[in-house]
C-alpha cells in the first residue's frame, strides 16, 4: 500500500513512545515520592504533589495507550498484510473515529432501553389481566392455575410447587434474614451469662452478621427468581390463550419434555454450568462487594462480634491520600504502579522473545526442529509450583547459586547476591524468571501462527529486496499483532493477577526494612492480588479491605480492557471462522 498512509501511523507511534516515556518518568517519580525519597515540606503540599504525579501519570499513560494502539492499528492496516487479509475474506472494520463515544452512547441507550423494557413489561402484565379470561386472572395469585385448567399438568405442577416453596421459605426463614439485613444484627453474643438452670456460666448466642448478610443476599436472589417466574407464568397464560383462540392445540407435558432435548436443548445444556457459576461466582462476588461497605474483619467475624454497614469509609481509606505509616492509600498507590509495570514487562518480554525463539526454530535450514520444541514444551508439562519453588530456593541467600559462588571464592561471606533481599534485585529477578516460565507457551502459540503466514508474502518481499529486519517488522510482526491482539489483552490481565509466580517466588517480599511501614504487610514485589491474599490471611484479616482492593482490581482491569477493545483491530467476529 501507499507510503502516505504509513507516516501518520509512525508519527502516532513516536508520540506514543514519548508519552510512554513520560508516563514511566512519572511512575518512577511517584514511586520515589511514595518511598519518601522526595522531601516534602508540609503535609498540605504532600497531598497536592501526589495528586499532580497521579494526574500526569494517568494522562500520559492513557495518551500512550491510545496513541500506540491507534498507530499500530494504522500500521497494520497500511501494511502489505492487509491486502492479503482482504483476499482471505477477513476485513478490518472501517475505522470509526468515535468508537469511545459510540460506547458511551451504547451505555445511554442501554439505560433507556432498560426502563422502556420495564414499562413494556408492566403494561403487558396489566393488559393481560384486563383482557384475560378467569383462568388467567386466577393465575396472578395462584401460579400455574391456568396451566392446570388448560390441561398442561406438568407445567402447572412446576409453577405451583415453586410458589409454595417460595412462600414457605419467606415465612419460615426469608422474612427474618431480610428484616435483619439493614442492621446486620442487633443482639451481640453474650459470654459469661449466669444460667440458673444448670448453675453455671454459659455463652448466649446472638445474631450472626455473616449469616444475615449471606442469607440476605440469597433471599434477594430468590425473590428476583420468583418475580421472573411469576412473569413467565403470566406470559404463558397469554400465549396459551392466543394459541387456543387460533384453534391450535397446546403442548402436552410429554412434548414439553421432548423439547428439552430438541428446540429447547440449549436450556438443558446450560442448566448445570450456569447454576455453578451463579452459586459459586456471581453470589460470592455480590457478597464480597457488599462486604466492602461493612466492617467485616477477623475481630468482627459476625459470630463473636457483630459487624455493621460502614458506607464508603474503606474506599476513602484507600483513595484519600494520607502519608502516615501503614496508610493503605500510600501502599495501594505503590503496589498499583508496580503491578502495572510488572504486567507490561511480563507480557511484552514474553511476547517478543517467544516470537523470536519460535522464528529461530522455524528458520529454514535448522535441523532437529522437533527436539528444540520438545525441550521447551516439556517444561510446560512440569507443574509450575515445582519449578517456581525450586528456583526460588536456588536464588535464596543460602541457596545453590550463592553457595556455589561462595565455594569458589567468587563472592565473600556476607557479600551474597541479594536476589530476594534487595527490592530492585527482587523485581528484576522476578521478571527474568517469568520469562523463563512464559517463553515456551509463547513459542507454541507463535509457531502455530508463523506457519500460517503465506510464504509468497516473504518471497515477494525478498524479490523487492527487503532485509530480514524489514520482513520481520513489515510482515511477521503486524500479522502476529493482528491475530493475537485479544490474546495479548487476556495475558496482560492474567499477569496483573499472576498470583503463583509472585507468591511462590518471593512471597511478595522483600518487605520494607524499616519495620514494615507498608499497610497490610506489603512487600516490594507484591501485586495487588498477593497483597489481597496477605490481608485476608494476616492477623487482622481485614476482609473489607481485601474486598475494596478486589473492586479496585476490577476497575483497573475493566478500564484497560475497555480501551484496548475499542482501539485494537479485532478478528473477534465469530462467524468469520465458519
Amino acid at each position: 500500500m501507499s507510503k502516505k498512509k504509513l507516516t501518520p501511523a509512525i508519527i502516532k507511534l513516536v508520540l506514543g513512545c514519548i508519552a510512554l516515556a513520560v508516563a514511566v518518568i512519572f511512575a518512577v517519580m511517584l514511586g520515589r515520592f511514595l518511598n519518601g525519597e522526595i522531601p516534602v515540606k508540609s503535609p498540605y503540599r504532600s497531598g497536592s504533589l501526589l495528586f499532580r504525579y497521579v494526574f500526569w501519570l494517568a494522562l500520559s499513560g492513557i495518551a500512550a495507550l491510545l496513541l500506540l494502539g491507534l498507530g499500530l492499528r494504522e500500521m497494520i492496516k497500511s501494511s502489505k498484510f492487509n491486502g492479503m487479509a482482504k483476499a482471505n475474506g477477513i476485513e478490518l472494520k472501517e475505522e470509526k473515529s468515535h468508537r469511545l463515544q459510540d460506547f458511551f452512547k451504547k451505555i445511554g441507550h442501554g439505560f433507556v432501553n432498560f426502563f422502556k423494557a420495564i414499562g413494556r413489561e408492566a403494561k403487558d402484565i396489566v393488559m393481560t389481566f384486563i383482557h384475560g379470561d378467569w383462568k388467567t386472572k386466577i393465575s396472578y395469585l395462584v401460579m400455574g392455575f391456568g396451566c392446570f385448567a388448560r390441561g398442561q399438568i406438568l407445567r402447572g405442577i412446576l409453577f405451583l410447587l415453586f410458589e409454595i416453596v417460595f412462600i414457605g421459605y419467606m415465612v419460615i426463614q426469608g422474612g427474618y434474614w431480610l428484616s435483619m439485613l439493614p442492621s446486620l444484627g442487633i443482639n451481640e453474643q453474650l459470654t459469661n451469662q449466669y444460667d440458673p438452670v444448670t448453675d453455671s456460666y454459659i455463652k448466649v448466642p446472638g445474631d450472626n452478621s455473616f449469616k444475615i448478610l449471606l442469607y440476605g443476599v440469597l433471599t434477594i436472589f430468590f425473590i428476583i427468581a420468583f418475580l421472573y417466574t411469576w412473569r413467565v407464568n403470566i406470559k404463558q397464560n397469554r400465549i396459551a390463550e392466543e394459541i387456543l383462540k387460533s384453534g391450535k392445540k397446546l403442548r402436552s407435558g410429554k412434548q414439553d419434555l421432548h423439547s428439552l432435548v430438541d428446540d429447547q436443548f440449549h436450556k438443558t445444556l446450560l442448566a448445570l454450568p450456569m447454576t455453578g457459576i451463579v452459586i459459586f461466582t456471581v453470589m460470592p462476588i455480590v457478597f464480597m462487594i457488599l462486604v466492602a461497605f461493612t466492617g467485616y474483619d477477623g475481630a468482627h467475624n459476625g459470630m463473636n462480634k457483630l459487624f455493621h454497614w460502614e458506607g464508603l469509609t474503606h474506599f476513602n481509606e484507600i483513595l484519600n491520600w494520607s502519608s502516615g505509616t501503614k496508610s493503605y492509600s500510600a501502599t495501594f498507590g505503590e503496589i498499583l504502579v508496580w503491578t502495572l509495570i510488572w504486567a507490561v514487562f511480563a507480557t511484552f518480554s514474553n511476547y517478543f522473545l517467544g516470537i523470536l525463539v519460535a522464528m529461530g526454530i522455524n528458520k529454514k535450514g535448522i535441523k532437529l526442529k522437533k527436539l528444540w520444541r520438545t525441550v521447551l514444551v516439556m517444561t510446560i508439562a512440569i507443574p509450575q509450583f515445582i519449578s517456581l519453588m525450586f528456583v526460588s530456593k536456588m536464588f535464596a541467600k543460602d541457596g545453590l547459586i550463592n553457595l556455589f559462588l561462595l565455594n569458589h571464592n567468587i563472592i565473600q561471606l556476607g557479600g551474597e547476591l541479594p536476589f530476594w533481599e534487595d527490592p530492585v534485585w527482587a523485581r528484576v529477578t522476578v521478571i527474568i524468571i517469568n520469562i523463563w516460565i512464559g517463553i515456551p507457551y509463547l513459542m507454541l502459540i507463535a509457531t502455530g501462527i508463523l506457519m500460517n503466514i503465506p510464504a509468497d508474502l516473504y518471497e515477494s518481499a525478498k524479490i523487492d529486496g527487503a532485509s530480514g529486519w524489514k520482513q520481520f517488522s513489515k510482515i511477521t510482526l503486524p500479522y502476529m499483532l493482528f491475530i493475537t491482539g485479544p490474546y495479548l489483552l487476556t495475558s496482560f490481565i492474567g499477569n496483573m493477577n499472576n498470583f503463583n509466580v509472585i507468591f511462590l517466588l518471593t512471597g511478595g517480599g522483600p518487605t520494607n526494612a524499616a519495620g514494615s511501614s507498608a499497610a497490610g504487610n506489603a512487600g516490594y514485589t507484591d501485586l495487588l492480588i498477593t497483597w489481597l491474599y496477605k490481608i485476608t490471611m494476616g492477623e487482622e484479616a481485614k476482609y473489607y479491605m481485601a474486598s475494596v482492593i478486589g473492586i479496585m482490581v476490577f476497575v483497573v482491569v475493566g478500564v484497560i480492557a475497555l480501551i484496548v477493545y475499542n482501539v485494537l483491530p479485532s478478528v473477534k467476529n465469530e462467524e468469520d471462522f465458519q
Partner: protein
C-alpha cells in the same frame, strides 16, 4: 565485462550468501542450544538433588557425593506425601471428568445456538472474569467450613470449587466448535435428528481433539494449584494437595531436614504428568494455538 566475469561475479555472490546463511544458522543453533540448556538445567538439578544422600539441606555443588534412594524412601515412609499424592490424584480425576462435561456443554451451546440472551450472557461472563477469583475464596471458605468440607475433608470441597465455575472457561473449545461447519447440523436436522442427537452422533466424534485438550488441561490444573488448596486445607495435612504439602517442606523450620525430600517429591509428581503430557502433546498444541488465535 566479459561473460566469464559475470559468472564469476554471481558465483561469488552465491558463495557470499551461502556463507552468510551458514553463519546465521550457526548463530541460531548456538542460541537454541543455550536456551535448551537454560531451560533444562533447573530440572536436571532437581533430579540430581533428589538422589543426594549425604545431607538434607541446600549445598553449593550439583553432583551428589553420595547417591541413593533414601530421599524417596523417607518421603513415602516418614511423611504424609502418599496421602497428598492420593488427594491430588482423586481431585484431578474428578475435576477432569466433571469439568470437561461442563465446559463442553457451555461452549457447544454458545457456539451453536442463537438464543435471545446469548450475547448478553457472554459479555456478562467476560466482565465477571475481571474480578479476581481469589476474592470469592473468603466466603467460599467459610461456607464450605460450615458444611464441613475444609481442613481434613478438603478434597470434595476442592473438587466443588474447581468444577463449579469452570463454565467460564469456554473460550478455547467454543473457538473449536465455531470451526465445524454448521451445514453438518442442518443436514442432520433435515433428516429428523433432534438437537441432542446432532450433538452426540455428529459433533462429538468430530470434536475429539478439543475433548482431549479439555480433559488434559482439567487434569493437569489441580496438580499445580496452590492458593485455593492452601486456603481450603488450612493447615490440615490430611487435606493438602502435593503443591501445598511440598511447600511446607520449604518453610523455615523444615527446610534444613526436608529440602532434598522436596526435590524427590517434585520428581515423583512431575514424571506421570510429563509422560501424559508428552503423549497428548499434539492435542495440547492444537488447543493452545487455536485458543490464542480465536481469543
Amino acid at each position: 565485462m566479459s561473460k566469464q566475469d559475470i559468472t564469476y561475479g554471481t558465483q561469488k555472490r552465491h558463495m557470499g550468501m551461502r556463507a552468510a546463511k551458514t553463519l546465521s544458522n550457526t548463530a541460531v543453533y548456538i542460541i537454541l542450544a543455550v536456551i535448551s540448556v537454560i531451560w533444562l538445567i533447573p530440572f536436571v538439578f532437581i533430579v540430581l538433588e533428589s538422589f543426594r544422600c549425604e545431607c538434607h539441606y541446600q549445598v553449593g555443588y550439583i553432583i551428589p557425593q553420595k547417591w541413593g534412594f533414601t530421599n524417596y524412601i523417607e518421603l513415602f515412609q516418614k511423611t504424609d506425601f502418599p496421602k497428598w499424592y492420593l488427594n491430588t490424584f482423586i481431585i484431578a480425576l474428578f475435576t477432569a471428568v466433571i469439568q470437561t462435561f461442563i465446559v463442553l456443554c457451555m461452549s457447544y451451546t454458545l457456539s451453536r445456538f442463537r438464543f435471545k440472551m446469548r450475547k448478553a450472557l457472554m459479555q456478562f461472563m467476560l466482565i465477571l472474569g475481571f474480578f479476581p477469583g481469589m476474592l470469592t475464596m473468603i466466603i467460599l471458605y467459610r461456607v464450605l467450613k460450615d458444611i464441613g468440607l475444609t481442613q481434613e475433608h478438603a478434597v470434595p470441597g476442592l473438587i466443588l470449587v474447581y468444577v463449579a465455575s469452570s463454565g467460564m472457561g469456554y473460550y478455547v473449545s467454543k473457538g473449536f466448535f465455531d470451526t465445524i461447519p454448521k451445514s453438518l447440523d442442518e443436514a442432520a436436522r433435515i433428516d429428523g435428528a433432534t438437537r441432542a442427537q446432532v450433538l452426540f452422533r455428529i459433533i462429538l466424534p468430530l470434536a475429539k481433539p478439543i475433548v482431549i485438550y479439555t480433559i488434559l488441561t482439567a487434569f493437569m490444573a489441580p496438580w499445580g494449584d496452590f492458593v485455593f488448596a492452601k486456603y481450603i486445607s488450612f493447615g490440615a495435612s490430611a487435606g493438602m494437595n502435593v503443591a501445598v504439602g511440598l511447600n511446607s517442606f520449604l518453610s523455615l523450620d523444615q527446610i534444613m531436614n526436608k529440602y532434598t525430600l522436596f526435590c524427590a517429591g517434585g520428581v515423583v509428581v512431575a514424571i506421570p504428568v510429563v509422560i501424559l503430557f508428552l503423549c497428548l502433546q499434539r492435542y495440547y498444541v492444537e488447543g493452545v494455538t487455536g485458543g490464542a488465535v480465536k481469543g
